[in-house]
Amino acid sequence: MTETDKKIEITGNEKPKIGVYVCHCGVNIGGVVSVPDLVENAKTLPDVTVGREYKFFCSDVGQKMIKEDIEAGLVNRVVVAACSPRMHEPTFRIACQEAGLNQFLFEMANIREHSTWVHMKEPEGAYEVAKDHIRLAIAKARNLAPLAVQKVSVEPVSLVIGAGITGMNAAIDLTKAGYKVYLVDRSATIGGHMAQLDKTFPTMDCSSCILTPKMSEISRNKDIELLTYSEVTEVTGYVGNFEVTIKKKPHYIDQVKCNGCGICVDACPITVANEFDLGLSTRKAIYVPFPQAIPSQYTIDMDSCVECGICARETVCEPLAINYDDEPEYIQVKVGTIIVATGYDEYDPTELKQYGYGKYPNVITGLQMERLLSSFGPVVGKPVKPSDLEAPHSIAFLQCVGSRNFREGGNKYCSRVCCMYATKQARQYKEKHPEADIYIFYMDIRAFGKGYEEFYESAARDYGINYVRGRIAEVRENPLNHNIIIRSEDTLLQQPIEVEVELFVLSTGIEPRADSDSITNLLRIQKSADGFFLEAHPKLRPVDTLTEGIFIAGVSQGPKDIPDSVAQAKGAAASAIGLMAKGEVEIEPFFAVIHPDRCSGCGMCIQNCAYGAIEYVDDRRFGEIASVNVALCKGCGACSGNCRSSAIDIIGFSSEQLNSMITKRE
């Protein structure tokens, strides 16, 4: 039988035959309320022709039951009472479609998330809620009309925001599949946080050795348009057709004229803290972020520059590339998909006053330690105490700084990398200074990745690193030598312990970007309670967002290490490729429609529409009235919410459908 043969013709005018399918969802629903009673009750309602129950309607067998009823002509509207439509609406829509029923003649009653799960302790109340939700869904189902799916083409171009290890990998994968990529990063170089790292756990391979080839691969790749020192300022449109505005910040240096001689850097009189080294070194107001930066471009940091004009002199800059009046440039691109890989901020431990960060010179953060260990860092890989620039003879690490903290000032989640990076840093130091005493104060050591447990075991066994289980009670500085005196309890030995170390490293955790709101506002995606971007489903759709065509990857979605970030990058790239490979995407036909005979042309909807989707047209019969441009309409209903005459309505959430639900109180 062909697809067309099976199609059940529904015009929306025939008498509704509503099938009600109440799912037990194992014991999730059936364990709280009586599913058979719900079915029996539903069957008494007008137009309900079939009522069935089953353990799992989302299973093949369950779906088959629904399909058979449709095929047998018993039902022409389907109501499934089960979980949230955000979970299985697509599943059942497809099932209806496969049985030949228009997929929009389906409605879901959410009796799991909205009833049995939130009223577990009040089964009677839960039953009433479930019963009512089913009745409301039936009321809406009665007013459903078949709709044609809209298909829109997908621009075979992707935008990747953030060019750290995640964004770079996603971009490379996208180009491998043949798609053009705009790779945007707001800093002057790509590489992200990984560029600041020295070695990576547990394999101890050098971060630069694996990162820099990727970076140059990016710069060579013709399909990647690299936009560093740039920010996305506006995103409009919808899946497959996003219009993106990107601001290219001014470098104040003509990159075409600049020959990269670097004389200007020497000539620049302004010295500021180098953020790449987290303030452990300095740079000039005119600078390249770090030697291996890609693109290797000079930039004037206008916040520090005093425009003294020295660098602009022909004696300094022979090609006269300096331009203090450089202006930002805005470019507009059209992309089909967007991948967000904006990474993270390191937790700032200043607020945890008890640890003395910012007060005692010899207290540093994990990322600072990373820079000290780095062979191209401020001390070329030979860590020193900030107080006297001597190599420390003893180091203590404190874990979970800013993580797993349920009190104020900190994050509740585990940052997932600190145990391993502290172990790695301890091992690295111990390799060069076997005599040094190293302590790691921890709550639990979390070594869950491939090879991690072995790595940790070896650190303790082969390197003699002292792991002390216990929270620190007191941190103070020895005023004579700036050493740090730590008092704690070793909870394994159940005795107090006091050590004096020369360097104290706070294993700071990972935080969402402080300005991640700008991304959520720009892209209309959500954040979860921890502040990281929210995935569409924590297990099944970990890189999707609720906005179709926009994906998230890497630490911006939640703390993770490099392998996990790269895995997600590849996942997000694959999802984006999936959308673009098809060339078109189906979108729900939930748009605003105008009843021209009711419209009096007051123009309120035009003003209310955030998308400029409504405009005046001169109607032959009704004069100047509103008209909806379906290509721009998102179906939000801001127009309809204000219409006095109900002249503008939203398909899928029509006034009649909602009204029918309101009137079904009991």
């Binding site: 949230s84 439509p85 955000r86 959410n110 799991r112 998330e113 909205h114 009833s115 799960w117 939130v118 009223h119 577990m120 302790k121 009040e122 009677e124 109340g125 839960a126 009433e128 809620v129 009512d132 939700h133 409301l136 709101d517 959520t520 506002n521 209309r524 959500q526 954040k527 979860s528 309670a529 929210l534 609720l546 906005t547 939930f590 209310n608 955030a610 998308y611 998102k634 179906g635 939000c636 209903g637 801001a638 309809s640 919410g641 204000n642 219409c643 109900s646 939203i650 899928g652 959430f653 006034s655 909602l658 009204n659 639900m661 309101i662 009137t663 109180r665 009991e666």
Partner: protein, 151 residues
């Protein structure tokens, strides 16, 4: 005791429970309600949820129709200002809500009969807390009788 008396006694001992219709925006509050479910956060079984695409979709007609149709309370929840999936739907809605709320009160409808709130997709806990609060408010007001028609 007669059967009728027993019946009466029963209904007396059973506390009156309000029925509240809740219009939740699809992107934040409906998802927040889902999260409350997934997290098994318990709240009283008094609300009946109607999904709408955005709080901007909610016409004043829905609110007043709910009251005339005998719902004891109306609860409306959208994304926090600035978080609207549709850019500004909740902001245009907020003005409408402010006006309808003031007018309802001006006409003598008890202030707590219609409640508005923001809850994001991540705020399952907040959703539950505010539903609890709204339920309490409406419960205190008693049944919605003002719009009841004499038959």
């Amino acid at each position: 005791m007669t059967e009728q008396a027993i019946e009466e006694k029963k209904s007396e001992s059973k506390e009156w429970e309000p029925k509240i219709i809740a219009f939740l925006c699809n992107w934040c509050s409906y998802a927040g309600a889902d999260l409350a479910g997934v997290s098994r956060i318990q709240y009283p079984p008094n609300i009946r949820i109607v999904r709408v695409p955005c709080s901007g979709r909610i016409n004043a007609y829905f609110i007043i129709k709910s009251l005339t149709d005998g719902w004891d309370g109306v609860l409306i929840s959208g994304c926090h200002p600035g978080d609207c999936h549709y850019i500004s739907g909740n902001l245009v809605a907020r003005r409408r809500f402010a006006i309808i709320k003031e007018l309802l009160e001006f006409f003598g409808i008890e202030p707590g009969r219609v409640n508005f709130m923001w809850a994001s997709a991540a705020e399952g806990e907040r959703f539950a807390v505010l539903v609890r609060k709204a339920t309490e408010i409406v419960k205190k007001l008693g049944p919605n009788k003002k719009f009841e028609k004499k038959w």
